[in-house]
Subunit: 233 residues, 2 copies
């Protein structure tokens, strides 16, 4: 009756992590086998396995059959970025969100879009421009292209009230995407939309989205001056 709790996989995981952080097991060092750790912690091997599997997912340890488990020598740090809708980003800042459609037209896909999305140039696409505001201040400008063949419903969809990002999220909820971030200088149009000086440095996110290998949409979001995207790891 001395131990109030049983050893769970989280206990094993945290203790192993502690030993790595405090260099009981240094970088590159070989850990005991699962069976040995199970004996030490007084639990089943499956419990140790789950604990170590989580640490391996985090990149803290490397596991190989026969070789055993080692502390990762030079861990590659990974940050998780939440790709949220403009509405969410604005409301997280306790501001009032507003959306406005700027333009909407069907057109043939230009060449650069074809290579971006892996689309045959000349394919009919829906091109939207829109603005997103927080408390009346420009938040970001959206330049959106949608592959009509992949999402036929978009031809009839009304984007006057609902942002295309939110519409697509409901229509094609589980898609894959390439995303890239860069800095760009405001041209005349962006300066106008975002109420900044031409040439101002703006943070920009571009995203190409696929669903089951079919290109769905390409979006370029250009944020107001001073915008910061944050994350943690």
């Amino acid at each position: 009756m001395q131990q109030p709790k049983k050893t769970g996989f989280q206990d094993v995981r945290d203790e192993v992590m502690r030993r790595i952080e405090t260099r009981v097991w240094d970088q590159g060092a070989l850990l005991p086998t699962e069976a040995e750790l199970a004996t030490e912690f007084g639990c089943a091997r499956a419990t140790v396995n789950r604990a170590l599997r989580e640490l391996a997912d985090r990149g803290v340890i490397d596991r190989k059959r026969k070789s055993g488990t080692r502390v990762t020598a030079l861990p590659v740090k990974q940050a998780k970025l939440e790709i949220a809708t403009a509405r969410r980003l604005v409301e997280e800042r306790n501001a009032t969100y507003r959306y406005a459609l700027v333009s909407r037209r069907m057109q043939a896909a230009p060449g650069w879009l074809g290579s971006q999305m892996g689309l045959t140039p000349g394919t009919e696409v829906l091109h939207l421009e829109a603005m997103h505001y927080g408390d009346g201040q420009p938040f970001h400008f959206e330049d959106r292209w949608i592959n009509i063949a992949a999402v036929p419903g978009c031809a009839e969809a009304d984007f006057a009230l609902k942002p295309p990002g939110e519409w697509l999220l409901a229509e094609v909820p589980f898609s894959n995407a390439d995303v890239s971030f860069t800095a760009t200088a405001a041209d005349a149009a962006l300066a106008d939309y975002l109420a900044c000086a031409p040439g101002a440095a703006l943070f920009q996110m571009e995203r190409s989205t696929w669903f089951q290998d079919a290109p769905v949409t390409f979006a370029r979001m250009t944020f107001h001056p001073g915008y910061r995207m944050r994350s943690r790891y």
Copy 2:
């Protein structure tokens, strides 16, 4: 003898994912219980549990005791960003990496740094400036501050050859960090270092690092014009 393979947790995971993608189970819909799925797939409940746990980690489904498992209504997409060293980023581009220390001095922490890192202003810190090159072209400028108390060895470390990021990665391998990304206009000094026009739009990453709740370092990396950070989800 009809089935060549056994049903593994990956089979279950993929089949459930397929049913969600094809809207067999629509957004918000309730899935069968683990026990029911185990019967259907002809495997143990633990196998189903692991499959569903992975999908829950991805944010595809929401699980609650008693309520059961539901398809996430509005999934929050997450991108994984690899925070790599400059050397890695450059060599990934098949370019030759070069590093140069620009300045190095001990000083009292300025106020803005104190609030950034959660450090008492006036604490002695090591301030480094350095450049990283790819094939001789400016890659990024590094403005680095290290809390000497947290990493005593840095006072004697030679940063003439080894970049502080790599040195710290070996010294404090398992740290936590806040990271933020923004766009900034080149000032005179940055324009000089990065060989661009003053006012050019530059991509910038800032990172504050802790180890076991103690502030370790703050780094501001300013990249050459046109730099793109990429990811995928």
